[in-house]
């Protein structure tokens, strides 16, 4: 499958075929998710209506972590097997990941103020997510800071792999240190601690965000493939590559 998609023309063909379905699923899940999140789901017995921020905050956080993991894996594949689309995929995913990290931080801040009485606290979870934001920034900066794109890709890939250590730190920060954040309430021994009426909008929004991320990833990979092709044409003095 990976080798099959290595051909840019084949990738574009596949992307064209899957794009309408993926975009449609994103719209369906997000629409359903918003109705559930804002209208159907009940207020929390302790947090009241502010719990509704969870339905955008938590899926954003999941996406920020998943996309960084994707970047680390594709960077590893790029460094070890030199797969033609690996570094490109990582480069395409970075702006998506940084957007979701920023959404996670801002919506978290908007949730923190009415619940904790502060927009920001320097606890382990918030600080490690902020560090993730800077990792994304560094990855994107390194990719664009060399004249030779291959050197930029390699340096950024090494940073992505080193920064991957931050992912378990974010996940387990609520268990390892004292924090204002609640402990894990979904992936825990004994099953989820959240009622299904709140789990439904949470998963619907998460699925919606996932399909959005896949759509944008496809668009960005195609854009980077075109950019690479344009660069080659220009290097060859206007002659097209076969």
């Amino acid at each position: 499958m990976f080798n099959f998609l290595a051909n840019p023309a084949r990738f574009s063909q596949m992307a064209d075929r899957f794009m309408p379905t993926t975009a449609g699923l994103a719209v369906v899940f997000l629409s359903l998710g918003l109705v559930y999140a804002l209208v159907i789901s009940p207020p929390d017995y302790q947090q009241g209506e502010t719990v509704r921020i969870m339905y955008v905050h938590v899926p954003s956080a999941w996406m920020a972590l998943f996309i960084y993991s994707f970047i680390a894996i594709t960077s590893g594949i790029g460094l070890i097997w030199r797969h033609p689309l690996a570094h490109l995929s990582a480069q395409a995913a970075a702006p998506i990941g940084i957007t979701f990290t920023l959404l996670c931080l801002t919506t978290g801040s908007l949730w923190g103020k009415p619940m904790w009485g502060a927009w920001w606290v320097w606890d382990a979870r918030l600080t490690s997510v902020l560090f993730l934001f800077f990792l994304y920034l560094g990855f994107m900066a390194l990719n664009n800071s060399f004249d030779d794109p291959a050197r930029g890709e390699k340096s950024a890939a090494i940073l992505a792999l080193i920064g991957f250590i931050n992912i378990p730190v974010i996940k387990f920060s609520v268990d390892w240190w004292n924090t204002l954040h609640q402990p894990a309430s979904l992936l825990r021994i004994g099953g989820p601690a959240i009622h299904y009426s709140m789990l439904t909008p949470l998963f619907l929004m998460a699925l919606g965000f996932t399909f959005v991320a896949v759509c944008v990833l496809i668009i960005r990979i195609r854009m980077l493939l075109l950019r690479r092709r344009i660069r080659l044409i220009k290097i060859n003095g206007g002659k097209q590559q076969p």
Partner: protein
């Protein structure tokens, strides 16, 4: 009916926190999608221009940016 809508908008007195969170998320997600689509369209335009073999200075300028 108006009372129900007013109650929904006020979000139990937390409207100033809940609505901005949803607006920021919507703007972020849509902005990311549309900006990426615009970038793809822009690269397609450059490629078409290059294939036609016109404005060489424009092409060089774009090469520096890539």
């Amino acid at each position: 009916m108006i009372e129900v809508i007013r109650e929904f908008i006020s979000m139990g007195g937390h409207a100033y926190f809940i609505w901005p969170a949803y607006i920021i998320a919507t703007v972020g997600v849509l902005g990311l999608w549309f900006f990426s689509a615009w970038e793809l369209k822009h690269q397609k335009h450059i490629l078409t221009t290059l294939k036609k073999g016109i404005p060489k200075n424009l092409n060089r300028e774009n090469a520096d940016n890539t």
